[in-house]
Every structure is written in structure tokens, then in C-alpha cells.
Amino acid sequence: MKKLIASLLLISPLASASQCALESQYVQANYQVNSEQTTNNTLAQAQQFTLWRTPHQVAEQGSELVEVWQQLSNQQIRPIRYFQAHQRGIEYQPSEVQGEQDWSTKYQLVSDDFIAKMTLKSEQGEGCEQLQNYQLVQGDTKIELAWLVNKKLLSSMRISKPQLTQTLTLDKVKFDKAAVMQQFANWDSFQTTDYADIGDNEGDPFLAKMINLGFIEHGASGFYDAGGKALGGGHSH
């Protein structure tokens, strides 16, 4: 949390909510994802991903895969998937915004609708530092969420189940517009292929691999393991 607080100092803590939101439009946020067995406290999974965002673009960057979502003027979401090692990308047609296609889910990792279902347990700080702590209990699952409300940024999330506890923690964040734009420009320079065209390009070794071996399945909000399997229990849809 010290790192988090230090990074937050890049934006004036006394900024108004609207000013804070404006100044935090361009985000590079590093998250740590931990998953541990509750019974023996052993660390089962530990990985990182980076959330990048501009007002209308969001990227979740893992070690190999980058998922980009672009919000269109008619509120549709257009996904792109980049494979960093190959410097290639797959572009998809915009989908209608529905269910998990909710833009807030992409933009802030947890949807507005889900936060609205949670109970506000405590609140602290003000301006850009205003932090809200929410809680929701669903059956044997307890979800705790620390929410930087004016930055629309997840500070932490903890999902506790009888056998497993998962945590998502904001490790470091920057609000450097130039760096964020450069990163998106870098991905944009990758050679891309329409998803619709993959089936017609079995002669391309990269795409042939996609056809025959399949895509790495992405998980919700970065909660996926090295095999691409969703860890589950992330934000609700």
C-alpha cells in the first residue's frame, strides 16, 4: 500500500473529484494477483498484469497476451488481442455491449453494477485519495473491495472461499499520458489479422497455430493463470 500511496502522489491529493477523474484518464496500473489455498496457506499462484487505459481504450497486459478493448462512439466494444512474442494481433468485430461486455468492466476491472450490489463498509481520504471499502457475501464466498472512487481504479480485491483465497492488489500506478499513448501505438504497429480472416489463412504459420491449437483463453479482469484459465470469482457480470 505504501507503493500505491506514493504513486498516488503523482496527482494532487487535494484535487476535486472531477479534476481527479480527468487527470487519471491515462493510466498504467500494475497489479499483483495471488491465489492461495486457505487450508495450508501455500502460495499457489502469483502473477502480474498491467492495466493500461485511455478514455476509450483499455488494455490488460499479461506476460504473453494483451487484451485491448476499444469503446466506439455508439458504445460498442471492439476487442483486439495481441501476442507480444509474435508481434501479431487478432482484431474482432465490435460486439454489442451486453453482460460481460459492459465497458465499466473493462475500464475499471469491476463493473459499476457489481459495486452497486456491494455494501459500503468504510470510507477514508478525500479527492484523489478517497478510498471506499466494500463487501459482499454470496453463499460461502466473501468479496472485499477497496475502491479509489474518484480515479475509478481498483486498489485491491479479495475473494475468500473455504478452500481458496484470491487477491488482486494494485502494486504501482502511473498517470503518464505520453507513456500510455506510446504503449498503445506500439501495439498498434503489430501486424493484425481480422478474426474472420483466420480461417482463410492456414498457410500463415502464426495463424495456423491459432487454428489448430486454439487461442489462449483470457480470464476476467486479469484473473487468469499461466494456462489462460480463468481463476474465477472475479468481478460479477
Partner: protein, 600 residues
């Protein structure tokens, strides 16, 4: 002679003839002959006949009794050569029979009236359903019928009413199962080539630009241009995609849609496909400098990205990418096109399309989407709006028919293929139905006397219609057997759909999602899925697949070819796909007319 007797009056029509008349001599025994008519189907004669019995009236009772018969002979009728009206009644009153008789008469008329002489087609229209294999046509026919409230199976798509049809063998020179580049090159130029190659013969090395030099093929559209006809290309795919590109471009790799798609070594020696489209007139003139070529009159489709610079300042109103254009050479080909054709209309949305003046407009360049145009079912979700395939066809014909010398038009339903690749039959079938509507527009706007219309596919897909569903069962539904109301269960005790795929991404249940590609979020599904509570007729349902692949694949079987108009009688039997070019050439004398233009 011992006679085994049976009752002789078995046959009601028995005739008794006394060979010897009455005699005064009471001791004289008369010889008698009896003829019995044997019915059709009798044991002795399957076609009926006459049984003749002879004997002596020993008891003098005037009849030939059983024990008086001394000889029997049978004369069977020849096989029947005709049936009487009564015998035919069960057939002739049957609806299937009557409809077939009517069709037979129509077919005879079609054969009698077809213009067989070459060069009589003033206009040629080639419709291509990308990936529209036979099973796709069948399923789309049933769906179209069911959407009209029919049982479905009896329905006919517009192009199924065309009088002549045959099959095309689709393989590429180097591939058993083909791709669109090689197949459309075969149709457009009359020469089969390698997979992935556009407008160049098989001597080319895929991806090696210089290897194709000197092996470029001339296309039917180019011949029509040289001949002075108006020309047009329409596609719901990117207009630089393989199928439409094969009508105007030469590329050693189908993916060279703009310069950013080409390795520098290749871009230095060859022109990208989008540039070839805009420079079509100059390029063709350079090959045939003696001919006055006026360029392609109608170009409509998707693929704006390949015509715009990679600069957000050039973004269109419905750009979906932060930077719409892909071109890394800074060229704005839409502006270049407008400069070449200052009186032409560049259109990019439904409103500008609707405003086209079809009477006075000489050239139209329509790029309605950054990439492929929308699936017909998803069209309403386009930001700026875009026309349907049938609307584009109607507008194109209204412009092209302003030329007294005729026209050549290629229309591609490009997204049937994409929906199949995504394993989504709903969109594949609905785009096929839209193609049927586009063909109907062409049938209505042209004459059978002077316009050859051919409808075909470039290749098929591994799309199947299976199980034993009852008549009228929803084609996108689960199999419900004849006489049943609940879905049939497979050996795994789960229901299954009538249509499915041999390979691909498999099951997805995305409900009302009309974008077939929305299923990308999931890895291929292996194994069976319990569909009991799934609405398999919803737009977002993706059918199960046997072999798990991320993208469903093409299939290698033949495709149908349907034709109407002068020369259509040549569309018969099973032919190489390249034969289609030769039918079009025969019908319209494309080579002959072009030759004359070049010679003059």
C-alpha cells in the same frame, strides 16, 4: 390325355365356341374350344392374355367340362406400352406428380428457348456465395421457407429457380481443399492456380512478387472493360479480399491488401491490392495502350482501412479503430480515386448510398466499413449504417445498365464464409438468404434474352445436415424425429442439432448476439454439450463441432452452379471451376470483343 381340371368358368369373359354345330347324329361327339381371358397380373401372364382350352363334349351337355379338356394353350399379351387414365389416376391426381409435370414442361420450354448462340449475352452477372456449399444452400432454403411460415423443405431460393445448373470442382492446383483466392481466380480468368494466389497462374511462388511477373492472368472484368462494357464489383467482405480482388488484381499473396501488409522486398516490386483497384484504369491501359478504358464504374464493399493512411486525421465517421487507416505510405486512395473521377461519388454510409443519383452517376466508389461489412443480421448495429447486398446490387444495376454496350458485374456474399468459420450457422444462412434476395433483384431488373446470370460458390464448408428430423422441423433446432414432439437423444442421452460442423470452435450459447465472431472469448469446446435448455435457434448459438479447431475450415466437395440467360445451357454436368469463365466468355464474346478493340 389326362387333364387336371379346374372350373372353366373362372373367367367371366369365357367364350365357348362349338367347332362343330348341332348334328342329327346323336352318337357324334362335338369338339369344343373355350377361350378364357387372363387378367393383368395373372399367374400365367403378368400382362394378361388368352387361355385356350380344347376338348370333346363327351357327355353331350354342350359344355366343355373339366374332364373333357384335352389340350390347353396360353397366349400372353405383349408388355403394356401405355396405361389408361384410370390406371394413372393415383399418379396424375397427386400434387408431387402434377408439380413435377409442370416443371417438366417448363424445363422443356427452357431448353427450347435458351439462346445457344455465342455472343448473345450483352450483360453478365456473376454471383458468388463465399463458402456457400450445397448443404448451406439446402439449409438456407429451409430456413427461408420457415421464415415465410412454410414447412421449409419445399421452398426455393431465387437462384434455385434458374433453369440450368451443374457442379464445379473447386480444388486449387496445389490444394485438395481450396481457398477463395485460387477458386475465384479460376472463375474470373479461366485458369486454376495455387491457394492464396490472386490473378496469377500456378508458376508463381506464393509470397514472391517477382516470380509472378509475366504470369498475370487477364480477367473477365478486364475483358469487359476493354470491350467497352460497364463493370462493377460488389462484396460484403473487404473489397480487397480475395474473391473481389481476383476480378481486378494480381497478387502473389492474397493478404497484400495494402502496402503495410507487404514485406518491403515485395512492396518494392509489386503494387498492393487496394492501390491496384484505384489504379485499375492506368494499369489496364498500360497493358493495352491502344484501348480507351474508362475504369470500373461501380465498386462497393468494405475495407476502408486499406485505402486510408495510418493517421487518425483520416478516420471516417464510423471508424472502429483509434486509427482507421493501415497504409504506411501516407496515401489516401479515396482522395486519389476522387481526383481521377471528379464526377464520381465516394460513399461510405447508408445516407450517402441512398443519395446516389443512379441516372447521372458514372462512377461510384463505396467503402462502407473499416473492414468487412456487417453480417446481414448485424447490419443495424453499424455505426454509420450500411446498405444490404440486395440494395447494393439494385443500385449497381441501375448505374451499369446506362451503358448501351452492356455490363459485367460480380457480386459476392462474402460473409457466409466468415460465419461458417466462426461455427455460427445462423449468420451463414441469413447471409445466404440475403444473397438470394440480391439474385432476385438481378432477375427482376434484367432480361433472360440478353443477360447471363450465374450463381455459384467458390468453395464449401464442413457444414452438415444430419439426423432424422421430421418434415418442417426448425432447421436450426434440435432433431425431433418423425411422429415425435420431444428432441431425439443421442447415445450420450443428450439432444443434438440438425446442423453442425465437422470441425471448428464448437458450442457457444451467446443468445441474441448477432455478431458471429463474438464467440472468440472461448477456447474450442471439445466433447458434447447438453443442449436440453439451450435455444439453438438464437442468433448467438454456435453449433457443436467434432474436431476442435479455433476456426472451422473449408470443405473440398463440389459446389453448385446455377444459370439463366444466353449460354446458360452450358452450365451442366460436373466441370472444373475454371469452366465458368469460359461459359461467360462464350455467352458474351468477351475475348472476341476485346480482341477487336485491341486490334482496332
Amino acid at each position: 390325355m389326362v387333364i387336371t381340371m379346374k372350373k372353366l368358368n373362372l373367367i367371366s369373359l369365357a367364350v365357348v365356341v362349338a367347332l362343330a354345330g348341332c348334328s342329327d347324329d346323336d352318337d357324334k361327339i362335338d369338339s369344343l374350344t373355350v377361350e378364357n381371358t387372363l387378367a393383368v397380373g395373372s399367374e400365367q401372364c403378368i400382362n394378361g392374355g388368352i387361355e385356350t382350352l380344347t376338348g370333346e363334349d363327351t357327355n353331350k351337355n354342350g359344355e366343355l367340362d373339366d374332364d373333357e379338356v384335352t389340350a390347353t394353350s396360353v397366349a400372353c399379351n405383349d408388355p403394356a406400352t401405355s396405361l389408361n387414365a384410370q390406371q394413372l389416376a393415383p399418379l396424375t391426381t397427386n400434387t408431387w406428380f402434377k408439380e413435377a409435370q409442370t416443371k417438366l414442361a417448363t424445363s422443356e420450354d427452357n431448353i427450347a428457348n435458351i439462346v445457344k448462340e455465342s455472343g448473345k449475352a450483352k450483360n453478365v452477372i456473376l454471383f458468388v456465395g463465399d463458402g456457400m456449399g450445397i448443404s448451406t444452400v439446402t439449409a438456407a432454403r429451409i430456413l427461408a421457407g420457415q421464415l415465410e411460415g412454410k414447412l421449409g423443405e419445399e421452398h426455393q431460393l431465387s437462384f434455385e429457380t434458374l433453369p440450368f445448373s451443374g457442379f464445379a470442382k473447386t480444388y486449387n492446383v496445389d490444394a485438395q481443399t481450396p481457398d477463395s483466392a485460387g477458386t475465384m481466380t479460376a472463375m474470373a480468368s479461366g485458369v486454376k492456380t495455387d491457394v492464396g494466389v490472386i490473378g496469377i497462374d500456378e508458376a508463381v511462388v506464393n509470397g514472391n512478387c517477382l516470380s509472378g511477373k509475366g504470369h498475370e492472368l487477364i480477367t473477365s472484368l478486364e475483358l469487359a472493360e476493354i470491350a467497352g462494357k460497364s463493370t462493377g464489383i460488389i462484396s460484403t467482405a473487404r473489397i480487397t479480399h480475395a474473391t473481389p480482388a481476383a476480378t481486378y488484381a494480381k497478387a502473389a499473396n492474397r493478404n497484400w491488401e495494402d502496402i503495410s501488409d507487404m514485406p518491403e522486398s515485395e512492396a518494392a516490386n509489386c503494387e498492393d491490392i487496394a492501390s491496384q483497384l484505384v489504379n485499375f484504369e492506368e494499369n489496364l491501359t498500360a497493358r493495352f495502350p491502344s484501348v480507351d478504358i474508362d475504369g470500373i464504374e461501380v465498386v462497393m464493399g468494405g475495407g476502408r482501412r486499406h485505402f486510408l493512411p495510418k493517421d487518425a486525421a483520416f478516420n471516417s465517421a464510423d471508424a472502429v479503430s483509434s486509427v482507421e487507416g493501415d497504409r504506411t505510405d501516407g496515401r489516401d486512395l479515396t482522395a486519389e480515386w476522387q481526383a481521377k473521377y471528379p464526377n464520381g461519388q465516394y460513399v461510405m454510409d447508408q445516407a450517402s448510398f441512398d443519395a446516389i443519383d443512379v441516372v447521372n452517376t458514372k462512377q461510384v466508389f463505396g467503402l462502407f466499413n473499416e473492414s468487412h461489412m456487417q453480417y446481414e443480421a448485424d447490419r443495424s448495429n453499424d455505426i454509420a449504417g450500411e446498405p444490404s447486398l440486395s440494395q447494393m446490387t439494385a443500385t449497381a444495376l441501375d448505374i451499369l445498365d446506362n451503358n448501351d454496350k452492356g455490363f459485367f458485374l460480380t457480386v459476392e456474399a462474402g460473409r457466409i464464409d466468415h460465419a461458417h468459420h466462426a461455427g455460427n450457422a445462423y449468420n451463414a444462412l441469413n447471409d445466404t438468404i440475403e444473397l438470394s434476395k440480391a439474385v432476385q433483384v438481378a432477375l427482376d431488373k434484367t432480361s433472360i434474352e440478353d443477360t447471363l446470370i450465374i450463381v455459384t460458390a467458390d468453395h464449401s464448408h464442413v457444414f452438415t445436415i444430419a439426423g432424422y428430423p421430421k418434415r418442417g422441423n426448425p432447421i436450426l433446432g434440435k432433431v425431433v424425429a418423425v411422429g415425435e414432439t420431444e428432441p431425439s437423444l443421442a447415445a450420450d442421452n443428450m439432444p443434438y442439432t440438425t446442423v453442425g460442423y465437422t470441425n471448428g470452435g464448437g458450442f457457444r450459447d451467446l443468445g441474441e448476439e448477432t455478431d458471429a465472431e463474438a464467440g472468440y472469448n472461448f477456447a474450442p469446446v471439445t466433447g458434447r454439450v447438453d443442449l436440453t435448455d439451450v435455444d439453438t435457434q438464437s442468433p448467438g448459438f454456435h453449433q457443436e463441432a467434432l474436431v476442435p479447431l479455433s476456426s472451422e475450415t473449408h470443405a473440398g466437395e463440389d459446389v453448385g452452379v446455377y444459370a439463366r440467360g444466353p449460354g446458360a445451357h452450358l452450365v451442366t454436368g460436373t466441370n472444373e471451376q475454371s469452366f465458368i469463365f469460359h461459359v461467360m466468355d462464350y455467352a458474351a464474346d468477351l475475348v472476341k470483343q476485346a480482341d477487336e478493340k485491341v486490334a482496332n
